[in-house]
């Protein structure tokens, strides 16, 4: 990559001698040009990954990433940093596994430590129905060639000794699935690292540039109106988690997406107390401990549409009650910060990645509560889709048309068993 100062222990030592006054900018801050080959709307992880892979895999470097605020400031910087590929349906498993594999090679690839920590993700089963679904899921994942295993209660207890595994718990732990290759990665580092690597390949990353309109000539896109003027391009990709409907509406496209607030919180930092990531979908508890020592907890979505990146207190109260039922020893710890993001939710909890009825306009959105883990995979297939003007086989099933044909990829899983 031209013009990129390599980061390493040697460069660190070298710069230490110079009191770190010699570090160059990680990425440029260019003025937008009048035209580009490709415009990517949205400077989050997915948008930056799209730009990076356009340059790296397809040689398309005359690319602008337009970010309305600061890059990585949307859901990229607000999620609970979990990466995993333990999805039920073949289509999802393939896409998320691609992403996990890209994560596995990302640190050397972009020469930026994304702190991928494959400390394992445990999904708990609290009733017989959960156990049955877990068996189904683990079997499917394994036959798709992805690592996954079933744990019994004792094995869960051994891995997470602080988990309440008492048989009389309100949410007893009957078992769990474990994906050892799953874990967490540093969200900001992914955005910054991709921005730096894309920039080094010639991509213009333009912050504080909000798209206010999508220009069309007949049935095809010609560019965008922005707060920094008109920018033209024959191909435009919308990658704006949370606001996909708003951008699509500028091009007259209706989507099956609802935007909801999603909250998360961290505790004060404490000494290591939990090594793996523990998730309980049934009670909406997602717990991990950051390298700084904070417990990072995710909640369920707030129940109504909103573009206000903040949520309601009751959601946090509910999540905390469930968390303490699973981890009683957390009771005296303290929440240091809560925050919210806006997530796009599709009816089948799967994303939309592909072409739109407007020629040259592409959409990548609807990732719901789980977009972070897909960051590189999403960018990789979307770059392919935009470069080739046709989807990669990995994202073909995630086309908008599925809502017309009915070929949904329903990752909600079964509702509660109902006998």
């Amino acid at each position: 990559m031209k013009g990129m100062t390599r980061y390493s222990i040697f460069s660190l030592v070298r710069n230490a001698i110079g009191y770190h006054e010699g570090w160059p900018r990680a990425w440029r801050s260019p003025e937008p040009r009048e035209t580009y080959d490709v415009i990517v709307i949205g400077g989050g992880g997915h948008g930056l990954a799209t730009a990076y892979y356009l340059a790296k895999e397809h040689g398309i470097t005359n690319v602008a990433v337009l970010e309305k605020s600061w890059l990585g400031g949307g859901n990229t910087g607000r999620n609970t940093t979990i990466v995993r590929s333990n999805y039920l349906w073949d289509e999802s498993a393939a896409l998320y596994e691609k992403s996990l594999q890209l994560f596995e090679g990302m640190t050397p690839d972009i020469n930026f430590n994304i702190m991928l920590s494959q400390r394992g993700v445990i999904n708990l089963a609290h009733n017989l129905h959960d156990l049955r679904e877990l068996t189904r899921r683990v079997g499917a994942i394994r036959l798709n060639g992805i690592d996954s295993e079933v744990l019994n209660t004792q094995q869960v207890k051994a891995m997470v000794p602080i988990l309440n595994c008492q048989p009389d718990a309100r949410y007893p732990v009957l078992g769990a699935s474990l994906q050892r290759r799953a874990g967490v990665a540093r969200h900001d580092a992914i955005a910054w690292g991709l921005a730096r690597a894309a920039d080094a390949r010639g991509v213009d990353i333009i912050q504080n540039c909000e798209v206010t309109g999508i220009l069309r000539d007949g049935g095809r896109v010609t560019g965008v109106e922005t707060t920094r003027g008109t920018i033209r391009a024959p191909k435009v990709g919308i990658v704006v988690a949370g606001h996909t409907s708003v951008l699509a509406a500028m091009a007259g496209i209706r989507l099956p997406i609802q935007s909801h607030p999603l909250q998360a919180m961290v505790s004060e930092p404490v000494k290591p107390v939990i090594d793996t990531v523990v998730m309980s979908g049934a009670v909406h508890v997602y717990v991990s401990q950051s390298d700084r020592g904070e417990l990072l907890l995710g909640a369920g979505i707030d129940g109504f549409n909103s573009y206000a990146p903040r949520g309601s207190l009751p959601v946090i109260e509910q999540q905390m009650a469930a968390c303490l039922e699973l981890f009683p020893i957390f009771s005296r710890l303290r929440v240091m910060r809560t925050w919210g993001g806006i997530v796009d939710v599709c009816p089948d909890a799967s994303p939309i990645i592909g072409k739109t009825p407007v020629e040259g306009l592409y959409i990548n959105g609807g990732w719901g509560t789980g977009g972070f883990k897909a960051t590189p995979g999403s960018g990789w297939v979307f770059a392919h889709t935009m470069a080739q003007d046709r989807p990669h086989p990995l994202n073909e099933p995630f086309a908008l048309e599925r809502f017309t044909t009915g070929a949904l990829i329903d990752e909600h899983g079964a509702a509660a068993v109902a006998h």
């Binding site: 209706r254 989507l255 609802q258 129940g303 109504f304 549409n305 573009y307 009751p314 009816p347």
Partner: protein, 100 residues
């Protein structure tokens, strides 16, 4: 936490209610007359407006009645509450005065 005025019970906390999404989407009279695309539009496509939005709520933990709400999805300001079957307030879904 929102404060929602149920038309039957008065102002109550958000936790007593459930949101049913976009309002005024009528079920097609003759679904068989629709194309797949038209049916998909009814089934899945939503405005998901950023700003004044008309939506349905139900007082789940109260009178269990459904009603409509005009709410700004950016400020969460509720500008109108009206019963099922009533026409949406035209001017009441006024532009939001608050941006974040």
């Amino acid at each position: 936490m929102l404060l929602i005025s149920c038309p039957w019970c008065g102002a109550r906390d958000e936790t007593e209610f459930s949101c049913g999404g976009e309002a005024h989407i009528a079920r097609p009279a003759d679904p068989n007359a629709l194309s797949d695309a038209e049916w998909a539009d009814y089934l899945f496509m939503r405005k998901n407006t950023r700003g004044p939005y008309l939506e349905r709520w139900v007082h789940t933990a109260g009178c269990r009645r459904w009603f409509n709400v005009a709410r700004d999805t950016v400020t969460n300001e509720i500008t109108a509450v009206y019963k099922m079957g009533a026409k949406p307030p035209r001017a009441r879904a006024k532009a939001s005065r608050r941006k974040r």
